[in-house]
Each structure stands twice: as structure tokens, then as C-alpha cells.
Amino acid sequence: MKKKIFILSSIMMITSLSLLLSIKSNKLASIVDVSLADIESLANPEGGGDHSWLQPKTVACKLDLGGGWFTGSVRRDCEFCAVPYSCTTVECGGSF
């Protein structure tokens, strides 16, 4: 009987511990997430302008050649990013 009680208690202990660990890891994940959100909010350019953190994105575009003809080209857009980066926008067909 004592042996049975010991085995059952052990199972309960292990289950409880694994549950506790799972909850803790979820909490840790949410703390990490909140920290990242804080970094992002720091990067949020309230006033905009030159202090914005931007990174270049290359996007396809159509360049009007006139007379109903178009060619495929690319332009450079600047999008928000979470780390400092410099970026200058370039119009469709421009060089960069």
C-alpha cells in the first residue's frame, strides 16, 4: 500500500511541476513580448520626420513610356523598422 501511495504521489508531483513550468514559460514569453513592444514603442516616431527608423524595401512598379507602353521597373520605399537604418526613397525607374 505504501508503495502505491509513493508511486501515485510521485506521478502527481511530476504532473504538477510540469504544469507549473508550462505556466511560467508562457509568462516568460509574454514578458519577452512586452519588452519587444517597448523597444518598438521607443522606435515609434511620434513626431515623424528625420528621426524615423526606416529600412529600404524594393517594390515592383510600372513605368509609363508614353503612347500606351509600359515597362516593368522597381522603386525604393522606406518602411518602418525596429532598428535604426537609413533610407532614401527612389521613384519608379530611378537608380539606387
Binding site: M1, I5, L8, S9, I11, M12, T15, S16, L19, S22, A29, V32, D33, L36, A37, E40, S41, N44, P45, E46, G47, G48, G49, S52, L54, Q55, P56, K57, T58, V59, A60, C61, K62, D64, G66, G67, G68, W69, F70, T71, G72, S73, V74, E79, F80, C81, A82
Partner: protein
């Protein structure tokens, strides 16, 4: 003692089951089933000649000349909804016109103060809340304006996601979320299409990111959403399947098999975007509009923009190539591109430079509206095209 132990064991087991159930429920929220029963396969073949018989398919039914003031810069997007025209131009303004081309209001509030934006990444019209909503990707905010008069209402912070484009139908918001550079650890946002019922909280997710596409900073389709009257079509970056978005979920409408599609290895190897645009691979499927039995779409191949018209009733391609026009100029006096569909008609914007070119080349052959047009001081003309049955 024995009974207590058994009781505790049952409670522990039940608690574990509950935890598993919650996880299953969370996973179910990821995405609803995507309907595929109505999906049509569109096989595309390239034609190496201009299509000069556009007048046998379409007929220009009316024009709207946009008021000359304010003078617009290059137009980024044009949308027509509920008898109103919304134009987003390159100077970060949205101008609302009536169907006679008169200005109703303009939203031109660039700045850092309340109700002002740094830039317009995209905008949506929420007909349910009667609001025009601007997404400012630099302020990471949604700015709400009254749809009737453009009056500023409120600003909501949208820290995550950072979408490339947004759309709204039936009051539901859809975010095109191509990359997750700003939230690498938030795996719940590592999906290409995110859905929100209130604009802030994500309720559904579709198309899990693949590493190669997320790591490749090139977007061959600048606008993944195509407005088809009340319906919105969505085509993911580098994809060829077109989905209709609604509050009930996604429905696959078309699979457009383009000639010589881009191999995945080009994405994995992060091919030079300029070279890709000049290559003989087909990329950047967009501007997908259905009007009656006609389907329009465009993409890039061989360095050129390729436009296509497909007859859905006959399951037959009408044309796919570099240029469409009506050589006789009778049915369609002037044509540039198709920019949307509204109330059973395609519409397209005729830019000042297009009209100026036509004036130089054709002079008196043009209709009156183009002959008296002054390209240097006037805004674009919108042409509406009805289908010849």
C-alpha cells in the same frame, strides 16, 4: 487516504485535459477553411502582338474629368465606392470627388500633431462605420475620418502588425503582412494575411510565412488587394491564386497559371529585383478585376507590363500581351490601363501625359473632351468601359 489520492489524480488529469483543449481552441482560431469549390483555372498564353481590337470587347460609356484644383501629383491609388471617387496621390493626400468630378473634401494633414499623419501607407473605406481610415506606417497608427465630410474623428495605435497594405470589407479589416522583421518572436503574426474585426486585435490568420519569402525584401505586387465593387480579391506576394475576402472567410476564385512562372530558387537566392523585372519570368500578378464574364489582370514579364483579358463564360483568353487599344478609335477613343471595376463597368485613369501624347499624335481625331484638355493645368480623366455583349 486512498480515496483522496484518487480524487487528486482525477483533478490533475482533468486540468491537463483542459489545458490541451485551450491549446486546440487557440489553434482553431488560426484560420477558417478556405473554400475551393468555385475555383476556376485560368491558363495564360503570351501573345507577341498588340491587341488592336479592344473596341470589339469594350466600349467607352462615359468620362469624369476631375476638378483642376487641387492639382494632383502622381496618383498612387484610385477607388470608387457609393458614388464617390477617392484619390490618393504621391503628396500624401486623399481627395474625395463626386461622380461629376467636383471635390467634396480633401484630407491633407501631414504633420506630427493630433489628427495628422507622417505618411499614408494605405487607406480603407469602412462602409459599416462610415469612416475613411488611413494607415500611417511611420506613426504606426490608424487615423479615422468621417466618410461624409473628411472630418477627423480619432487615432488608434497599431503597433503590430506593420502591414504593407490594408483592406476593409463588411467592416472587417484585412492586413497584408509580408514580413515579420519588427516582431521576430511573435509567431502569431508570422502569417501573410491577418484579419481583425475591430482593426486592432487579430482574430484570424492565413498563409504561414515561409522563411525564404520573409527574408527577401522584394515585393513584385505592390498592391495585393483588388477592389471589385463590394468584393475584394487578394493575391499573395509571389502567388498565382486569387481569393475573395469576406466576413465568412476566404474563397479561392481563380488560379492563374502564368507562362514561365518564377522558380522558388530565385526567391531563395534573393535574385536582384531589377534583373528579375527584366527577366522572362512572370511575376507580380495584380489588378485582378471581374466585370460580367470578363476577367482582367496584369503582371510583369520580359521587362514589360503585360495585361490580360479572359472570357470566363467561354473559358478562353481574349488577349495577353504588352498593349491593348482600339485601332479604329471608335468604341474606345483613348485607352491606358484598367484601374478598377464599378457597377458593371471597368474604369481606367487617363493621365495628363497620356492625353498630351494623344493630342500630339492624333490632334482633331480625338473626342471634344480631349481636344480642349490642358495637360499642364488639369487633372486626370476617368474613363468607364462597358462590355460589348
Amino acid at each position: 487516504m486512498k480515496h483522496i489520492l484518487y480524487f487528486l489524480l482525477i483533478v490533475t488529469a482533468l486540468s491537463a485535459c483542459q489545458n490541451t483543449k485551450q491549446k486546440e481552441e487557440a489553434l482553431q482560431k488560426v484560420s477558417k477553411n478556405i473554400g475551393t469549390s468555385n475555383m476556376q483555372l485560368i491558363k495564360v498564353e503570351m501573345e507577341d502582338h498588340d491587341f488592336e481590337e479592344l473596341g470589339t470587347v469594350l466600349r467607352t460609356s462615359s468620362y469624369i474629368q476631375l476638378a483642376p484644383e487641387p492639382l494632383l501629383s502622381s496618383i498612387k491609388e484610385i477607388r470608387i465606392e457609393n458614388e464617390h471617387i477617392y484619390v490618393h496621390d504621391a503628396t500624401s493626400r486623399i481627395i474625395c470627388y463626386d461622380m461629376q468630378g467636383n471635390v467634396i473634401y480633401q484630407i491633407d494633414k501631414k504633420g506630427g500633431g493630433p489628427g495628422e499623419y507622417v505618411g499614408i501607407n494605405d487607406f480603407v473605406i469602412n462602409t459599416q462605420s462610415k469612416e475613411l481610415i488611413i494607415y500611417d506606417n511611420l506613426k504606426l497608427s490608424l487615423l479615422h475620418y468621417d466618410l461624409a465630410d473628411g472630418k477627423y474623428l480619432k487615432t488608434e495605435s497599431l503597433r503590430k502588425p506593420n502591414p504593407s497594405a490594408i483592406a476593409c470589407t463588411e467592416g472587417i479589416y484585412f492586413y497584408d503582412n509580408r514580413h515579420h522583421n519588427n516582431y521576430p518572436n511573435d509567431s502569431a503574426l508570422h502569417y501573410s494575411l491577418l484579419v481583425s474585426t475591430n482593426g486592432i486585435d487579430i482574430t484570424e490568420r492565413y498563409f504561414s510565412h515561409n522563411q525564404a519569402e520573409s527574408a527577401y525584401d522584394f515585393s513584385p505586387s505592390p498592391q495585393p488587394f483588388s477592389y471589385n465593387n463590394a468584393s475584394i480579391y487578394y493575391c499573395r506576394n509571389f502567388d498565382n491564386r486569387v481569393y475573395r475576402l469576406s466576413s465568412k472567410g476566404l474563397e479561392a476564385m481563380y488560379q492563374i497559371d502564368l507562362p514561365n512562372p518564377l522558380p522558388f530558387s530565385q526567391i531563395e537566392n534573393k535574385a536582384d529585383p531589377r534583373k528579375m523585372m527584366q527577366s522572362n519570368y512572370s511575376v507580380g500578378l495584380e489588378q485582378i478585376y471581374q466585370c460580367g464574364a470578363l476577367l482582367h489582370f496584369q503582371f510583369f514579364k520580359d521587362g514589360f507590363l503585360q495585361t490580360a483579358l479572359y472570357d470566363l463564360s467561354k473559358k478562353k483568353q481574349i488577349y495577353c500581351g504588352r498593349k491593348m487599344e482600339d485601332k479604329t478609335h471608335r468604341s474606345v477613343p483613348l485607352f491606358r490601363l484598367i484601374d478598377g471595376v464599378y457597377q458593371g463597368r471597368f474604369f481606367g485613369m487617363l493621365a495628363p501625359e497620356t492625353i498630351d501624347y494623344a493630342q500630339t499624335k492624333r490632334g482633331d481625331d480625338l473626342p471634344e473632351i480631349f481636344r480642349r484638355y490642358k495637360a499642364e493645368s488639369e487633372n486626370p480623366i476617368i474613363a468607364f468601359y462597358e462590355i460589348i455583349r
